[in-house]
């Protein structure tokens, strides 16, 4: 309990320090399109090239305002993240957002199950660098899954 209380206080502190951002509204279709581009690249160039492309912030097809792609394997290890390179190689299977949602596990579940779907969660926006409400579209890609998130 002591730990929980400590955590809530801490989160409040973090939020209060985030400066306000002007949001550009992306659409679901834009998100899906970016996913499909990653799929295509994967199909075309293979995993390594796809990862490189996704991670490369200079690649516009995979970076658009608040949109960027990410690739995880089914174990939850980050293979590629267009916004946050620090995460690459990290296993985030047990990551949960401020609402306590295990977002990565939901993503894995969609990839393993329907193969594609939407997941809503809180996550630092690449625009504001603050944790915002975001949604991501996920699709299975080979033994991996690919997703693209957007602020909401």
């Amino acid at each position: 309990m002591r730990n929980a209380a400590f955590f809530i206080v801490f989160v409040a502190l973090v939020i209060s320090n985030v400066p306000a951002l002007a949001l550009e509204i992306s659409t679901n279709e834009q998100v899906a399109a970016m996913v499909h581009r990653v799929q295509e690249r994967f199909k075309k160039d293979g995993l390594a090239a796809t990862i490189e492309a996704v991670n490369d912030k200079t690649t516009p097809e995979f970076h658009d305002r608040d949109l960027y792609a990410f690739i995880y394997n089914m174990q939850g290890i980050v293979l590629a993240n267009g916004a946050r390179p620090a995460l690459i190689g990290k296993n985030l299977i047990s990551l949960k957002d401020q609402d306590g949602k295990y977002l990565i596990q939901e993503m894995v579940a969609i990839a393993a199950g329907p193969g594609s779907g939407w997941v809503s969660y809180k996550w630092p926006s690449p625009v504001t660098n603050k944790i915002e409400d975001r949604s991501a579209y996920i699709e299975k890609m080979g033994d991996y899954f690919v997703g693209v998130g957007m602020d909401r």
Partner: protein, 830 residues
Amino acid sequence: MPIRVKAFAASVVLMICLVAVGGYAYQAARKLAEDFNELSKRSLPKQETISNLNDEVIATHVQVFRFVTWASNGVNGRLLKSISDDVLADLVAGRARFELFNARPDLSPAERSTMADLSARWEKYVDAVKDTLDVGHTDAPMATMMLGATDDDFQKVASDLARMADLAGMQTRAAAQEFVITAERNREVLALGAIAATLLSFFVALVVGQSIVKPIQSVTKAMTEVSSGNVDFDIGDQTRSDEIGQMVRAIATYRQNLREQTLRLDTALNNMSQGLGMFDAEQRVVVCNDRFARMYGLSPEQARPGTTLREIVERRIANGFYSGENRAEYMNQQLAPVVSESNTIEELSDGRAVLISCQPMADGGWVTTHEDISERRRVEKLVEHMASHDALTDLANRSHLIEGLNKALAKLPGQGRGLAVHFIDLDRFKDVNDNFGHDGGDAVLRTFAERLRALTRHNDEVARLGGDEFVVLQTDIDGAVDAEDFASRVAAALSVPVTFNSHEIRATVSVGFALSSADGASAERLLKCADLALYRAKADGRNCVRRFLPEMDWEMRARVELENTIHNAVLHNRFVLHYQPIFEISTRRLLGFEALIRLPAEDGTMIPPLAFIPVAEELHLIDKIGAWVLRDACRTAALWPKHLTVAVNVSAAQFRAGGVCATVAAALQEAKLDAHRLELEITESLLLDDSEAIMKELRMIKAIGVAVVMDDFGSGYSSLSYLWRFPFDKIKIDQSFMTGLGRSGRDAETVIKTIIALGRELRVHVTVEGVETAEQLRFIDEANAEQAQGFYLGRPVPESEIAASILADFKRASSQGTSTLEREAKLRIV
């Protein structure tokens, strides 16, 4: 099983209980100490370590948060690096701590498993923290995002730690609980053990009690029964082998003895000749035998133990068995407490006499015995009567007479009148017995007794002193006339013939009487006086009555004195012999001596034989005296010249005593005297009895050579006939003839001459006695008498003077031829 063994077994059981409970308590205390040790040395420190681990982990986690906060707030990289280094160091230290903890040997499997999880999760947490730190250096918001998962991992670690703490706490609790449970269980076990031990003890006590107390109670009951005298009760099991069995058997034996004793006591009580009653202090019957009940007409039920004395006395009175006139007084007398030993005789109203003895007892009661002494009294009276009365005539005897006489004499001074004692003796009672037998004699005595009783009055007493002697105590008389009259009536009444077996027995009596007024005041004296009077009556020819006169008394005293003198003389050989010479008349020569006995009196004078010989005969001393005379005469004669003889007088009494010949022979033998020198002089009275035994004795005496001389010839009644019945050697003419010579005409002269002639014809020597004068000597000389003896010729002299006579005789012999006168003169000298 002996009680000793039971008690031992019981105590062993109890001891085992104690040891068991005590041992368990000891073990429990030790276990508790161990548990406590466990708790304090292991569980608690472990818990503390876990708590410390938790604190340190939390501190690390806080550092992680601090890192992310600082990162989010844009703290510079150098500071962030410093915190992340601290965190990484903490993580490494944390791993080391877990490993250290994990190496503890005292971990339970659950703890080990939890620690394994914890280590794994720690590693996961470490990875998560590293990732977070790693991301945090460059991407603070993402680090913040990752913080949630890191915290999840931390929560897992924390939960494992909590679980560890729980496990350790659980262990502690378990240990503590176990401690408590053990303590509780010990408490319960001890309590149960104590209860079980108590119950067991109780049970053992109950069992032992059942097997000891109950029998002891029954033994006690038996003993109570026995002690209360009851012998018929259930004594219990005699076959037990323990001490109680012994007690029961002892009681059984005791009861058997008691039964026997009771039986004996009952038998003894009911076979007693006396009635016995034992009463307690409340005057109730304790024991009463059948005889007691029967004596007073009580049923056994009416005299059973518990009956009061009052009830018994009431019934006795109702049955008529009490004494005295006043019933109430008798009752009071009987109910008076018995305080001292007493013996009383009750004359019961039914005529019985009962001797009642009472003996008080210490407890206030008393024992009394009742003896019916009626029969005893009757027998006593009979015995008393027999002792005081003559069986033949039922008259009083001497002792009873004297008693009566004493009583009568004792009354005299008050009554003033006199009494008389009559001594009555049958004359010649021996003849009656000889002629009619003893039955005849007894018939006479009985008849006389009846007649005497008829003659006497109520207060008079008639007694028979034995033989034919009767005494009558005549009371209440005025004087001698009354006594004389009575004596005459007695004599007359007894002279009436007695009819016996169709015979008429005639007997007369002599009576002597004495008067209390004149002759004496004591019974002895009166009887003696009457006896003396009777003696006089007998002496006066019998069949007469004589009153006592004082001179009889003198005679009697003289006689008593003489008797004493004779007795003493026999005892001390006081008799002396005097010798009177006997001469041959024709030659005037000495022929021998006649030994004449003399008794020296107290005053020195000599008592003549005529005075004491009859008395000595009555005293039955004559044979002893006679034997002495024979011995002494023979001894003396043996010293004389051999031609001299000695003559010794032998009385009829000596012959009746017998053994005269043997005595004579012994005397001759002793004195070494020739038999022919001894002459025995007997009187004709000896021949009166006409006894063949005496004749035989005389013939034997004559046969051994001793001469037998007829003494005092002519003084009796039929002397002549005796001369033919025995061949006497010599006849001595009685001196009365010499005394009568010249006084009564010529009768004596004729008799003397005839006897001298007779002797000559019979060729028997004849001695004339009593020659006292010269004329008498001349007369017998002329009558041609052969021998003479007398004072004129020579007096009796003591032995010592005999020698002179003998000497004179020798001188005379040598001068034969001198004149008669001279001879006479010389003879007188002797």
